[in-house]
Amino acid sequence: MQTKRFVKRARGGMGHGRATAVTHVSRDHYLRDDLPIPPAPTLARQLLVPDSNVLLHALSVLEHAALKEVVYLQTVMEEVRKRDAQVYERVQQLLASPDAGARHLYRFSNEHCRGAYVERRRGESPNDYYDRLIRSAVRWMQREIDGDMGAASSVVLLTEDRENARRARDQDGLVAISLVELADRVDGDDADLRERIRRAGESIRQSTVSATGAVDGAASVSVPEHWSAAEVERGIESGWVLLGTYRAHAYAPRERGVVQVRDLSSVGAEARALLGEGRQTVEVHVVGRVGQNRSIDGDAVAVELERRVDQWTQAPSRLPRAENEGEEANDTQVAVDTDSAPPPSPAVDRVPTGRVVAVMRRNWRSQYCGSLLPPKDGAADAAASGASTRAIFMPVDRRVPRVLLSTRQRTALQGQRIAVALDRWERHLPLPEGHFVRALGPIGDPDTETQVLLIENGVVTRPFSDAALACLPPSTWRVRDATGAAEGHRLMAGREDLRGEYVLSVDPPGCTDIDDALHCRLLPPETNEGNHDASRPRRVEVGVHIADVTAFVRHGSALDMEARERGSTVYLVGQRLEMLPSLLTNRLCSLQPGEDRLAFSVLLEMDVETAEVRSTRFVRSVIHSRQALTYEAAQRILDGEDTPAEAPLGASLRRLNALAQRLRRRRIEAGALTLASPEIRFEVDARGERALQGDSALQHADADSHHLIEEFMLLANGAVAERLLTAFPQSACLRRHPSPPPEQFEPLLQVARAAGIALQVESSKALAASLDAVAASPAGRADPLLDTLLRVLATRCMTQAVYFSAGLCAPAEYHHYGLAAPVYTHFTSPIRRYADVIVHRQLAACLGYDAAVPELVHHRTMQRLCEHVNERYRSAQNAGRDSSALHALLHLQKQMPDVEACVEAEARVLRVLANGAVVLLPQYGLEGVLHVDEERERWQWDPERGTLTGTRSNTVYRALAPCRVRLRVVRGAAAIDRLRLEPV
C-alpha cells in the first residue's frame, strides 16, 4: 500500500446547534494507489456515474432492475447521506442486495484514490468542489478504463445540472448527459425503463423550475418552511414545542388533524397550565394547511402550541360534506384557511391547538393504493398528445392526501387501481409528489379491491419462502414416526400419552384448523376424605388440549420468522391468509378426529358441583380426538334432540356444559362484559370464521355450545397466564384490557341520558348490570334492539386490549376489563395467532421442556415482540373488517342494477350531530353517516337532548330512535364505491 497523507482542516462547531467557538479540527486523509477501478462496462453501452441530485430525485430509476453498470462515488454517497437519510438507506440496500453484483453496480471511494482526488481550492464553494471531485473521478475512470477517448468514452457522467455538464464537456473533455438523454440511450426493448427515466428527468426539471417560480408567483400559497433541527430543539427548550405523531382527522383529513403527544416532560410550566395539570398525553389539534404544514398521517412531527387560548379551535361537531361533490376542482387554489373551523364563541369547549413546525421523521408507507382522478378539460389534450402530464392520484386511505403524479400513461391508468410511492412535499405545492409503482387491476373488481385492502393494511401476501418450507416435516409425517423412532425423540421428550382419553372438539362448520379440543373424565372418588358420598364422585378432570405448534415451529427458524412477520392468520370473506403453511394449519397441527396429534394440554381438576379448580397441570401430550362436532351438532346433543352414537360423547358434553355454565355465571358476577359490535352478517359459504376464544366476547354467540368452548378457553388462558407470571414475572407475555377512563364513556352516557336511560359506568360490573337492567326493563323488552345499540355504543368507549410484557406495568394494571380477569393471556390458538406461539414457548420453557430463549425471557425484547404482535393483530382485524365491508358493498350493488336505484331500509340513530346523524342499519349490520339536507331547511341541534329537528318538515332525529334511510352506492372521488345514506 502506498499512501499519501495530508491534513484536512475543518471548522466544526460543537454543541447542539448553538453557536459556540469555532474550532479547527485536523484529520488525516490517506490517498491510496491500490483501489480497484470499476471494470469496463459489458452489460450496457456506458458506465453511468450519477451525481447526488440524480440520486436524490430519480432513485426509482436507479433502482430499476434493467438499469445496469452504475458507479456510486463516495463523494455522491456522502452528499446524499447528508441530504436525505432515507434515500441513502435505499442506496445502501441497493448496493448490498445480491442483485448489485449481477447488475454491475459498483462503488468507488474516489476521495481516497490518489489519481481521482483533487484538493479544494481557496475560496471554492462546497458545491463547486463536490462537482469538481466528481468530474475528476469520472476523468480518472475514463483514463483507466479506456485511455483518453474523449467523447467516445464509455464512462458517462449523469447529471441534471447544466452548468456542471458544460464544465465536464468543455473543461475536462468528459461525456455528460441528463436523464432525458439517457432515456434515448437505453436499449430499444425496455420501454418501461425508458419511460421512467424520461419522467424522472422531467420531474427534476419541473421541480427546479417551479421552485424558482414559487419565489415570485406562488408565494401566497406556500406554507412556512419547516424548522431546522436546531430551531426545533430551541423550541422544545422554550417549553412550547412538543414532539408527537400526526394523525389526520377521520372525517376531515384535509382540514384538520391532531398531534398525539406522549411525552410531556419537556412542556414548559406555562404551557402545562394551559393544557391542564397531571395529563399523561395530550392531543394538539392542528387546523388548515398552515397548521398541518405538509404532515401526513403517521409522521413524527414537532408542533408549536398556540399560546392564546382564545385562538384555540373547538372539537369538530359538524360532519364534513361528502367529498364527492367536486371540491377538487381547484386544487392549486386550496385556500389557506386556518379559520375553516366555525367562528369561535366563548362558551364552547376549546381543545389544545397548535401548528406543525417541522416533520421530524416521515413515516410513509412504501406504497399507497388509489386511482387517478379524471383529467380536467385542459389536460385532456395534453394527455392525448402523449406529453408527460401531471395527474392527481386519489388514495383509498382518506387520511392520506392526494398526490401529484407525473406520468405519460395516464390514459392507460384511468379506471385502474394503482399503487403509488410518495417522494416529497414541496413548500409551494398544495399536494405531495409521488411516482407510479404498479397497476393492480380494474377498479371495482373484487380481486383488485381485496388486494388493495391487503396492501393498505400491510398484510403479508407473498407465499412462504423455500427456506421456511424447508423447516416443515415431510407431508407424510405422523406422530407414530416420532414415537416409533429411537428413544428420546426430540418431539416426544416428556410427553404424556393421553390417547386413552375421550377427546372431542367443537367448531364452526367447515373448520379445518382445529386448535383446541377438550376431554372430561370423572375422577375416582377419593377414599381418604372423610365425609364423601361414594355414589357421587365430586371431582372431574377436564383437559384442554391445544395444538402443539411450537413442536414444529422452532424458535428462530426461517419458518418462525415468517410466521412472526405475518403475526396472525387473516380472515377475509371467503378467503384465509394463513400464518403457518397449510401443511401445519390444516393437517399436522389441526386436532382432527381419528388422528394422533401432538398437543399442549392444560389438565384441570375441578369440583363437579362448584366448578372450582382444585389443581392445574400443564403437560405436553399426544392425544387422539374422537369427535369433531359443529356448534349446531353439539347444541342438538345438549338439547337432547340428538342422541350420539357413542355414549361417552353425550356424557362428556353435558358435564362440560354444566361446568361451563357455572364458570360463566361466576365470571359475569365478577363483572365480565357482554358487548356487541355491528357485524356484517352475510351468507358467505366456506368462511372459516370462529368467534369464540379470548376476548372475542364482543360478538354475540348465545348458544350454550358456544359458551361451552369459550369458558374453558378462558379458563385455560387464565391458568396459563398465572403460571407464566410465576416463572417470568418480568417477561411473561400477557394480555390486558385497560379500564377505559371515565370521560371515555361520555358519548354513551350522553346518548343514554337523551333516551332517558341511566347507566352506571364506574366499573365493568356496574356497566354490565345496568346494561342487563336495560334489557330487562319494559323499554328494553319492547325494543330488543335497544340493548344491542347500547352495547354497540359501549364497545366504542372501550380501549383496545393489548399484549404486553409483564415488566411493562404494575401488577394492578394486568387487569382484563372486558373479561374481569386479574391476569390473562392467549394460549389457545397457536395456529392462527403468533402471540399464542410465544406463550407456548414460554410455558414450555418454564416447564423445562425447552431451554428458555433469551428473547423470550428478557423484558425489553419481549415488549418489542408484543408491540409487533399487537400491530399485526390490529392490521389483520382491520383487513377482515374491510373485506366484510367490501363484500357488503358488492352485495348491495348486485341488488341495485343501475346507478339510480336505491334500497330503503330501517335504521337506528347512534349519535346525532349538528348536520346529520350516525346511523346503524340492523338489517345489514352496516353503519353510516346520514347527512340532512341543509339547503332546503334549517336544522336545530340540541346536543343535550340528542335531537336534530328540521324547522320546516318537523323531522326529528333522536338518539337511539328509528328512522328510514335510502341506501345508494355511489362512486366517490377516488373511484371508491361508498355507501351513501339519504334521508327518506
Partner: protein
C-alpha cells in the same frame, strides 16, 4: 443526519485506511536537549513528547552510581536493541515472555466472564519494581473541543460551589477557589494518573534492573538503586494516546540508554460497527472512535483495547505484554446478546489484530529509528568494534 459509514463498501475507513493499517508514524529521538533521553512520536494527529531522566540516584540514598553507569547502560542499550533486533539470543539472556497462543487461553477466561474488567497483564516479573516513575500530562490545547468543554464544566462547578458557599453565608470563599477540587481529582487528573500507572507497570517489567538473576552480569543492568523518571507530554490527542505514549517512552528509554529486555511496542484497536456487526480495526483516530460510538450507542459504544507487545524477530511472533481493555459497554448484562454487543470473543479478535497486525507495522519504524540512533551514538563514541557489529546486524 446520520453517522457516516465507518467502513465503506470497498472496505475503507473514514480516512482511507483499511482495518489493519495504522496511521502514519513519525519518530524523532533526542528532541529535548536537556534530558537524558527523549523522543517525539507523531502517529496520525496524535503527538506525544517523552523525556527521560536517569537512571538517577534515588532520592535520599545509595552511593554514586555514575561510575558503573556509563559503560553498563550503553552495553545494555545495545543489548536491548539486539534482543529486539536480529541477533540470535543467547539462552542465558532469554527474556521470559508469553506467546500469543498461550495468551489466548487467558483471553478465553476473560470471555467466560463476559467483558474483562481489569487490564490483562502478561508481564514478566517486574525487575524494576518501584524503579520507574512516570508523570503523564495532557496539554490543555491537545484536543480543543474536549478541553474547552471540560474547562466550561469546571467553571460551572466552581460557580456552583461558590453559589452554594454564598448561600451558606460563607462569602469569604473566592469564586475560583480550587480547594474542593484538591480533595477529589477531576476526570482529567484521574485519567492522567491511570495512564501514568499503566506506563509505569509496562516498563517495570521491561527495564532490567539489578537483582534479576537471569540477566547475566550486573554490568548489563541498571544499577539496583537507580530510578528512571519518565515525563510524558501529550501535545495533541487524536486517539490512541496511551499507545503512542508507550511507544515514545520506549524510544526515549533507548535514547537514554536504559537497559531493557526489548523494545516494547504498543498499539490501540477498536471494533467498528459495520452492517450490524463489529469489525476489528487498529489504531482508530479520535474522530473515528466518536463516530463509532455514536453509531453503536444503543449497545453502549465500542470497545477500545491497547496492547503492548515485546517483539522479537527470532520467532516471528509478537509476545504479548499487556492488554488494556476499555469496555465501552455500559449496558446491564442481558441474556440475549445482540450481535453488535462486544463480547469476550470480540475483545480477543481486537487484541489479536492489534498485536499481530498493528504492532509489527509500528515496530518496523521504531526499530529502524532506534538502531539508527544507536549506530550514530556508537560511532560518535568511536566504539568501532561495536559499530561494526551493528553494521553487521543491519
Amino acid at each position: 443526519m446520520g453517522v457516516p459509514e465507518l467502513l465503506s463498501g470497498d472496505g475503507l475507513r473514514l480516512d482511507g485506511r483499511r482495518e489493519g493499517e495504522v496511521r502514519r508514524l513519525t519518530v524523532e529521538l533526542g528532541t529535548v536537549s536537556g534530558a537524558d533521553g527523549s523522543a517525539y512520536v507523531e502517529q496520525g494527529q496524535t503527538r506525544v513528547l517523552v523525556a527521560v531522566y536517569g537512571p538517577l540516584e534515588p532520592p535520599g540514598g545509595g552511593g554514586s552510581v555514575y561510575q558503573s553507569l556509563l559503560a553498563a547502560s550503553t552495553a545494555a542499550a545495545l543489548e536491548s536493541c539486539a534482543s529486539a533486533g536480529r541477533t540470535p539470543r543467547r539462552p542465558g539472556r532469554r527474556v521470559h515472555t508469553m506467546e500469543i497462543e498461550e495468551n489466548d487461553e487467558i483471553l478465553d477466561e476473560g470471555e467466560c466472564a463476559g467483558v474483562p474488567e481489569k487490564p490483562l497483564r502478561v508481564l514478566p516479573p517486574a525487575t524494576a519494581m518501584g524503579r520507574v516513575r512516570c508523570e503523564y500530562s495532557v496539554a490543555s490545547f491537545a484536543s480543543a473541543p474536549a478541553s474547552a468543554r471540560a474547562f466550561r464544566a469546571q467553571r460551572r462547578r466552581q460557580q456552583q460551589r461558590h453559589r452554594a458557599a454564598a448561600a451558606a453565608g460563607d462569602v469569604s470563599a473566592p469564586p475560583d477557589s480550587t480547594a474542593g477540587s484538591a480533595s477529589r481529582p477531576s476526570k482529567f487528573e484521574r485519567q492522567s494518573r491511570e495512564a501514568a500507572a499503566r506506563i509505569r507497570q509496562v516498563f517495570e517489567g521491561v527495564i532490567l534492573s539489578g537483582g534479576d538473576a537471569r540477566s547475566g552480569g550486573t554490568s548489563r543492568l541498571m544499577p539496583p538503586h537507580a530510578v528512571v523518571d519518565v515525563f510524558v507530554q501529550v501535545l495533541q490527542s487524536d486517539g490512541g494516546e496511551l499507545a503512542v505514549a508507550i511507544n515514545a517512552a520506549s524510544l526515549a528509554l533507548v535514547h537514554a540508554g536504559v537497559p531493557m529486555r526489548g523494545l516494547p511496542v504498543a498499539c490501540s484497536a477498536t471494533a467498528l460497527p459495520h452492517q450490524r456487526k463489529l469489525v476489528p480495526a487498529v489504531d482508530p483516530s479520535a474522530w473515528e472512535m466518536r463516530q463509532a460510538s455514536l453509531a453503536n450507542t444503543a449497545m453502549g459504544g465500542v470497545p477500545q483495547v491497547t496492547v503492548v507487545t515485546l517483539p522479537s524477530e527470532a520467532d516471528d511472533r509478537m509476545p504479548l505484554l499487556y492488554v488494556d481493555y476499555q469496555a465501552a459497554t455500559s449496558l446491564p448484562e442481558q441474556p440475549g446478546i445482540p450481535p453488535t454487543r462486544a463480547t469476550g470473543d470480540l475483545f480477543e479478535q481486537v487484541a489479536h489484530l492489534a498485536a499481530s497486525v498493528g504492532c509489527p507495522q509500528l515496530h518496523r519504524v521504531m526499530h529502524t529509528a532506534a538502531v539508527a540512533h544507536l549506530g550514530q551514538e556508537l560511532a560518535r563514541r568511536e566504539w568501532s568494534a561495536t559499530a561494526a557489529f551493528i553494521a553487521a546486524v543491519q
